[in-house]
Symmetry: C2
């Protein structure tokens, strides 16, 4: 006999990735005990995000406001580098690249990969917009930062073909040994790629 | 360059038990993608719970409304059994017992265990109220459903002493082999307890 409000909270929390029924109950209990310091602020943050977040009409990023923070920063003098577009599959990939702090250009979020099986064609992804952006005179390089999966690599090859008409350098991320990785545990494909792409010291 | 609203959402989600920084990002992305079907309802459920949940003045349970659902059900004819009180440490333990569906009496949530080290005495727990409830004429049994830890068992002994004056049967949960458990993996204490408390078939 758990009250219906608490039960509903647990049901909804259990829909988050990484939380099962048991951890959803733990999370609910934690929230209930920290009503003022956590539950209220989180409820407000969620309500604000739910109301404010939209897809950036320029790059496909998800952010409060359109254009997104990255695109807006590209528009101000001294802001992000407008000559480079980094093409990613999903917003999570954009976040991952932003966390590195190593990239200062703009992004383009495809929203997935081509898939004949699932009926995903170029028009279902954010491809026409990418071709338009890549044709702009200021753009000199397009980095295809797609996942090293079959879908990602197929899409990268397709995009490289389509981008041939635009006068841009097309690049992809390097394959190789992950930093901190041990050779003994690496798969053959990665090790082969790392060996072929070896660099002089 | 992740927007401040999204960043705040991730920070708050990372404070939930079971979610680290990485899974908080995944959860935030999931919420953002399911704005209408998950993020908004969850924000509303949290706001409602934050505003409505209070500690039951009768038993110490956390619920929307005071008295809680369990205590209120005990007050209606044909409702829960008012002759039995089940003493638990925390609200999570009450939830666990409710999930079994095997208990139909009332509860009493202590809010922790006695601890000389941490300076937790009987008056810091919900003990005076328990003694008052146990003295009522309708109460015939008090089940001490405390954890089988040092703190839980110390508290159980203390409560058994204090409850001697009340005319109630005092019981505790059985120790033994967990259902589905294998003897080979059980600790000696549990196995000894299970052997001593063996029952005729």
């Amino acid at each position: 006999m758990i009250g219906p409000e608490i039960d509903r909270l647990i049901q909804l929390l259990a829909k988050l990735p990484g939380l099962g029924p048991r951890s959803a109950r733990r999370a609910a209990l934690h929230l209930i005990k920290k009503r003022d310091s956590l539950m209220e602020p989180l409820a407000e943050a969620m309500a604000a995000a739910a109301a404010g977040i939209r897809t950036c009409s320029v790059c496909g990023n998800l952010d409060t406001g359109d254009p997104c923070h990255v695109c807006r920063d590209g528009e101000r003098p001294g802001g992000r580098d407008r000559t480079t577009l980094c093409v990613v599959e999903e917003v999570g990939d954009l976040w991952a690249l932003e966390r590195t702090g190593a990239y200062r250009g703009l992004y383009h979020v495809l929203g997935g990969t081509l898939s004949a099986l699932e009926g995903v064609g170029p028009d279902d992804l954010n491809v026409p917009k990418l071709l338009e952006r890549a044709s702009r005179p200021e753009v000199t390089e397009v980095i295809l930062a797609l996942n090293a999966t079959v879908g990602g690599q197929t899409t990268a090859h397709y995009l490289a073909d389509r981008l041939e008409g635009c006068e841009v350098r097309i690049s992809r991320l390097a394959h190789g040994v992950p930093v901190g990785g041990e050779l003994d545990y690496l798969d053959d494909g990665t090790l082969t790629a790392a060996l072929r792409a070896r660099r002089s010291l």
